[in-house]
Amino acid sequence: MVMKKFINDPKNLTPELLEGFALAYSDKVALKNEKLVCRARPKDPSKVALVTLGGAGHEPALSGFVGEGMLDISVVGDIFAAPAAPKVFDALKLTNRPAGTLLVVLNHAGDVMSSNIAMQMATKAGLNVKSILTHEDIAPGANAPAENRRGLVGCIPLYKIAGAAAEAGKSLDEVLALAERFNNNMATLAVALTTATHPASGQSIFALADDEMEIGMGQHGEAGTGRSKMKSADETAAIMVTQLLEAVKAKAGDKVLVIINGAGATTLMEQFIIMRGVGKVLAQKGIVLARARVGEFLTVQEMGGFQMFVAKMDDELLKYWDAPCDTPYMTVR
């Protein structure tokens, strides 16, 4: 398939998209050093700051959630590629404050290396920084070692909860503890239907037959384990949510947050139908759908498919999930 995308020079994708994003949401975000997406109105420096990092091409992705109640800075790399460590260090210097900064890292090799180096630099420079790694993909098995499990859409509710705790004036250790509790109670599984084209190279990032789907595929077309014939929405929803509920050990009476995250081309229509299928399984098991979101949070260009996210919630986590926030792609009143 030929790539059909509205772009200019493929070399400038990331700076151009960030420029357009910052232009559209100039009331909420401001660009610094070309690739640091910062809050337009910085957070009170007495509160803990939240920084994250990741490649571009997944819009709205991380940068879409910079703003009051969520992230302070998102450090953007290039298309599907981690930002360089010195940029992450720049962000940590920008948020430097006695209250400290929490660096949220998604488990992808490049991101982990950049953030490890940045953390070393920060420690040397005497900054008060801690980090947390998300790795909630259960494609390799819920009990696979953390280092083999990717960080997927779960980072976004984690920003929400940690961000709300930070706004509430919690200390760095408290914010970290809360984020870790959420981190340990969340799971994501992705499914792919149709491929996407890498917007710089114009190449398809994977291939599936016309009648195939693949459960467990990663954010960049990384192969999963569950290639099968196409299934109905209800079957797909049931298979995925069952594994996810097991992974977070949810039982009757437990409250869960569910997010359906469209990969790109899969319509909201389909995502709602999947959500309905999830609801049926939850009802059968007596698990409470406490909160839900359906939409595109972390995409893979025009890939067809979605990520399903489940987190077991307690009252404190719910309180922070419900707290106000104001970012380009998530606002809570």
């Binding site: 990331t14 690739k35 490649g55 790399g77 290039d78 599907f80 590629a81 981690a82 930002p83 360089a84 460590a85 010195p86 940029k87 090799a109 490049g110 290396m113 950049s114 490890n116 180096i117 890498h198 710089a200 190279s201 190449q203 990032i205 990663g218 960049h220 077309g221 990384e222 192969a223 999963g224």
Partner: protein, 211 residues
Amino acid sequence: MQTIGTNTVVKMIAAAAARIRANEKDLSALDSATGDGDHGTTICRVMDAAETAAKGDTSGKITELLNKVGWDVMSVDGGSTSPLLGSFFIGLSEGAGSSAELDAKATAAMFEAGVAGLRQQTKAQPGDKTMIDALVPAVEALRAAANGGADVTAALRQAADAATRGAQATKEMVAKFGRARNLGDRTRGHADPGATSISHIFTAFAEAVGS
């Protein structure tokens, strides 16, 4: 050549960048078979940054030159390659110490420090089908040649040959790191792109010193 100084180091890096540029398409194609197809692009950007930094050096000191190269490579956005190679060059910088001219043994020590720098960033071991599978044998061969009395030119020649063999050998391996890991068995039969880049870099180093 008995020793190398800053001028030679600049020449080596420029030659490596040129050779990488000439192989950009092939390297991306290799990465398409096992990973996400961007290695050619990234390693080009990395080596372009290295070349620019090296040529822009005004310190005249190997360690400072390589430190600047390391940071500029590290500053390239590009997945795993830039932190890995950035750490490698910073390691070289640390290994070079304050010497103005490095003989074969000092060169071997410098490269050993480079490997150590890179290996700080990853748990990948030889056999895991990564750039380590070209780098480690290259530096081992360099050390062996230096200890055996070879001059820098001959020692780097040995290193380049070992890197090329190492990169070739990755064809038989199954990837355990990087984006290729998920493809598991399907990576067998394809050389690792990162290891292939390392073989190009060492081959260019040897040629730059030899000529």
